[in-house]
Symmetry: C2
Subunit: 238 residues, 2 copies
């Protein structure tokens, strides 16, 4: 009987992990699709991304409900408790990724009439970097692999650098042609959203590391290029 | 002896609440001070805001550690468990508020040479609205008052509207004088950060409501003006 209970508990934890991976897969796909919809001006795809956010939200609510139940009924301790609480926080991060991807997709619709498609190459570049980061972090989660989590935690710096250089690039388009300022402001926010998705992936990497090892990845270990994205006062070298 | 244990538990929960309020007070002050540092170009104040973020982070880490301990040792159920898990999430939201305020303060430094001080009035306006929202939500938390939480949950709409109109206003400055584009892009991000602080206050209001009532505030109850901040294609009425 005890064995039966323990096995049911293991099943619950595995189902929880599986659903977090499903949420992560959805959020990753939404991010990639939102960028593709932007670059290809694909309104149908953008609409699909927006619609899919409800699925991510529903998954989060369901995961949260189950975690509260697990804590109440199973009263996990030590690593099990860390794992369950990390799952709660990871689901929360993924929900935010979904929100940001949805916001990018909505802005894609606004940009449909935007003629300077070349300006959007940076969205494609950042989108690829960020989805790769999300994908790596989700792998680390599936394998409970702190080394892999650390690797993709560090790679956030690359995303931050892409963001900083793209930010400056978009500003030059705005200065060259003030008629693009409205559209380019949207592009700046899209880029910022991608950079924030990278931050969420980084947060997830920290949670995996903590959940498995019980230690914290220290923010001091990694140069944080995005703390003040693109200082634009001309005197400051970037 | 049982009474002694129960009373120690109550003390733990009260200390937790007190520290969340302290974190909230810090985050609220940082938000207000970051805006004041921006408007008055006060570098000393901006530096203080940036330094204070470490206190907020340390408080969050401490609160999180204690919550994990409380769950492990006390194994709370039903409303107690909801309360403790809400505390975990509220501390997380407040940590993000601190980050956003720090980011505003850093940008304030970048804007020091910016001549068009009149453009910054909107930061003052938004800053006041957002700190009032934070303050109201923290009151609701202290009194475990779902009605008050709902009130400030609804008021996020006002912040979103302030943001939308300020966004358009800043764009007009950029168009009028392209030399301000770099600085104005920072101002757009500062405004967006304030709007996001409002979103975090709203999230906290939802958590208080859930913690006390066990029910969710439905997103359908509130028109969400910020989902696509300021559609700028000229054909769309704002």
């Amino acid at each position: 009987m005890t064995e039966h209970i323990v096995s049911a508990y293991t099943d619950e934890l595995e189902a929880l992990s599986a659903d977090i991976l499903r949420m992560g897969g959805l959020a990753e796909a939404m991010t990639g699709d939102a960028c593709e919809a932007t670059v290809k001006s694909d309104d149908t795809l953008a609409t699909m991304v927006v619609a899919r956010d409800a699925d991510v939200d529903a998954l989060e609510a369901d995961i949260e409900r189950r975690i509260i139940e697990i804590i109440a009924r199973r009263q996990p301790l030590a690593r099990d408790l860390r794992e369950v609480l990390s799952a709660l926080k990871i689901a929360n991060e993924l929900e935010r990724v979904g929100d940001l991807a949805k916001n990018i997709a909505k802005r894609a619709g606004v940009l449909e009439g935007f003629a300077r498609r070349d300006v959007l190459k940076g969205i494609d570049r950042m989108g690829r970097a960020v989805t790769a980061q999300l994908s790596g972090v989700l792998d680390a989660f599936r394998n409970r692999d702190p080394a892999r989590a650390t690797k993709f935690w560090i790679s956030d710096e690359d995303v931050d650098q892409l963001y900083n250089s793209y930010f400056r690039e978009v500003l030059t388009y705005m200065i060259e042609d003030p008629r693009t300022i409205g559209d380019c402001a949207h592009i700046l926010f899209m880029a910022k959203n991608l950079e924030r998705i990278g931050d969420h992936a980084t947060n997830i990497a920290e949670m995996i590391y903590f959940s498995v090892t019980g230690d914290y990845l220290s923010a001091d270990d990694r140069p944080k290029a995005d703390e003040l994205p693109s200082p634009m006062d001309e005197g400051t070298p970037l």
